[in-house]
């Protein structure tokens, strides 16, 4: 069969492969190369070695600020989203009335796009801040906590669904046996539920981590970096470097490569860390 199928390469593989080359592989390879060059269009590239990487950090403070802002934001949202999602999942797996309706409501914000979410929360947050006579562009702190609230509203329901699936996989016999042996609820939670739900935690941490780190649309719509560029995250800073002023395209591409490397590194470290804590049934 393999031999016959092989001849069908043009039909089965070629269309996807061509699209993959155009949309990903060639741009990726060019992106790596261009990060070592000075260019304004793709054709006028001049080799400059590691200069763009140096300038990414030293030309101004924007990239360092954005990196620090992104790291803080990622840590806070990963912790809060996962905590709320897990608590909601615990609540919704105890046979409360109308469980499905609650699930439907909590999950819904996840389907709304980042731009719409950003403007929606801008209205609410500015409405609240008005009582103090300011708005979200007044301080990067407001932008930071605004983004955290937005992220929690968007992602909690999604992660809750995954935690619910994880909790439903725990055999009843296990928790019941522990209860009969006199274990308290918190002992059961600590020694049975938490270890057993670890695969879901791995996935949820991975998804919240990468999504928070890569956040762009919400950042653009909610604050667009204001005040100044203080609330700009990495993705937005890279965008501004590329399209904000001419002559910085190489620096933008170098920043993008760094962005990609950090993301790949933290994803890899996180997966191996939480995977090692998973127990098999």
């Amino acid at each position: 069969m393999e031999k016959t199928l092989k001849k069908y390469f043009p039909l089965f593989l070629l269309p996807t492969l061509l699209a993959f080359l155009i949309a990903f592989l060639i741009p990726f390879g060019m992106g790596i190369y261009l990060s070592f060059t000075q260019f304004t269009t793709v054709t006028d590239a001049q080799w400059v070695g590691l200069d763009n990487y140096r300038r990414a950090f030293t030309a101004n403070q924007d990239f360092r600020n954005a990196l620090w802002f992104t790291v803080k934001f990622t840590i806070v949202s990963v912790v809060t989203v996962n905590l709320f999602a897990f608590l909601l999942a615990l609540f919704l797996t105890q046979g409360v009335r109308a469980t499905n309706l609650f699930r439907t409501v909590f999950f819904m914000p996840n389907l709304i796009g980042g731009i719409v979410l950003g403007y929606l929360w801008q209205l609410i947050i500015n409405g609240v801040l008005r009582y103090w006579g300011v708005d979200i562009t007044f301080s990067a702190n407001y932008g930071f906590w605004g983004l955290v609230v937005l992220m929690n509203w968007q992602m909690t329901g999604y992660m809750m669904i995954i935690y619910i699936a994880g909790l439903q996989n725990i055999p009843h016999a296990l928790t019941e046996a522990a209860a009969i042996d006199g274990a308290s609820y918190f002992q059961i939670l600590r020694h049975i539920i938490l270890p057993m739900v670890m695969p879901a935690t791995t996935i949820c941490t991975f998804l919240t981590l990468t999504n928070s780190f890569k956040l762009f649309d919400q950042n653009l719509a909610l604050t667009a970096g204001a005040p100044g560029k203080e609330s700009a995250m990495l993705a937005l800073d890279i965008y501004n470097t590329f399209y904000g002023r001419i002559g910085y395209e190489g620096v933008g591409q170098a920043k993008a490569v760094i962005f990609f490397l950090i993301l790949a590194l933290i994803a890899f470290v996180q997966l191996s860390l939480t995977r090692s804590k998973e127990v098999s049934q």
Partner: protein
């Protein structure tokens, strides 16, 4: 036993409160969309009154300013076209990659997996240049781009599922004289249906809401809904808050309808997608 019941009751009402708090932001935008544009920023939490009520004025001006129905058409065309291409072509690709084992297919499979971790900013500049160069800068062309960009996750998910299909079924069909095309469409693809639904939903959610890719490639000529909303906001000094509120609501409505009608598939698709991814 009684305390258990009370416990449940407290939990239930806590959840009701949380659910209402979750829905409140959408509710607030909804009633603000019926207020005159200058009354919105003043006090977004006040309900429309006789004085501030604007009827459908915001909707009319918003639809005019964003050319909403055209944007809706572009978004729909790009999403449906891309998702159809992704589901069909990526499942074929995954089958080929799993069943034909050599260095080339193995390397290609890992490249697809690798592409999942690469953020869009890494390729956005070079990719939009190539799209312009190849004249793919129109809605139909974008389906090709989305196929290429969505291929990583989709091929990965289909491959995982194809590996679970016993080879004997396909071999029996081939011995009975059906070629690869027939075998794929009559035997393999029907088995892949649950994965196909998951892949379709995950990609539809992403493509429908995607902003930066269509903005950079076709944004000047063809505005999808997110791009149109962003244009409404930026640029000409004072922004029309009324039109913005109305457009937020108009863009949420199709999502809610889609969600409520396909909820079962969406939630199980998201779980399946997460477990695989």
């Amino acid at each position: 036993m009684k305390s258990m019941k009370l416990h449940r009751e407290i939990q239930f009402w806590l959840l009701v409160f949380l659910a209402l708090a979750f829905l409140a932001p959408i509710g607030i935008v909804l009633y603000n969309s019926f207020k005159g544009q200058f009354y919105i920023t003043d006090n977004p939490f006040a309900f429309p009154s006789k004085e501030t009520f604007a009827g459908l004025r915001n909707y009319i001006s918003g639809i005019e300013k964003t050319d909403f129905f055209r944007a809706f058409g572009y978004s729909l065309f790009i999403t449906v076209g891309s998702v159809a291409a992704i589901v069909l072509l990526c499942s074929m690709t995954a089958w080929y990659l799993v069943r034909v084992q050599n260095i080339f297919t193995k390397a290609l499979y890992y490249l697809f997996v690798f592409s999942m971790i690469v953020p869009f900013q890494m390729v956005m500049f070079t990719m939009s240049k190539i799209v312009n160069l190849l004249r793919l800068d129109h809605p139909l062309g974008l389906t090709v781009v989305y196929l290429g960009f969505g291929a990583g996750l989709s091929v990965f998910m289909f491959s995982g599922f194809v590996r679970g299909i016993p080879l004997e079924i396909e071999e029996a069909a081939m011995i009975d004289g059906s070629g690869p095309v027939q075998t794929f469409f009559q035997i393999v693809f029907p088995i892949l249906r649950p994965t196909a639904i998951t892949v379709a939903i995950l990609n539809a959610m992403w493509i429908w809401n995607d902003y930066l890719l269509p903005y950079l490639t076709i944004g000047s000529k063809y505005r999808t809904i997110p791009v149109a909303i962003q244009y409404l906001q930026g640029g000409y000094g004072s922004r029309d808050m009324g039109a913005l509120m109305a457009m937020l609501i108009l863009s949420i409505i199709p999502i809610v309808i889609f969600y409520l009608s396909a909820q079962k598939y969406i939630i199980s698709g998201v779980v399946a997608g997460a477990v695989k991814g």
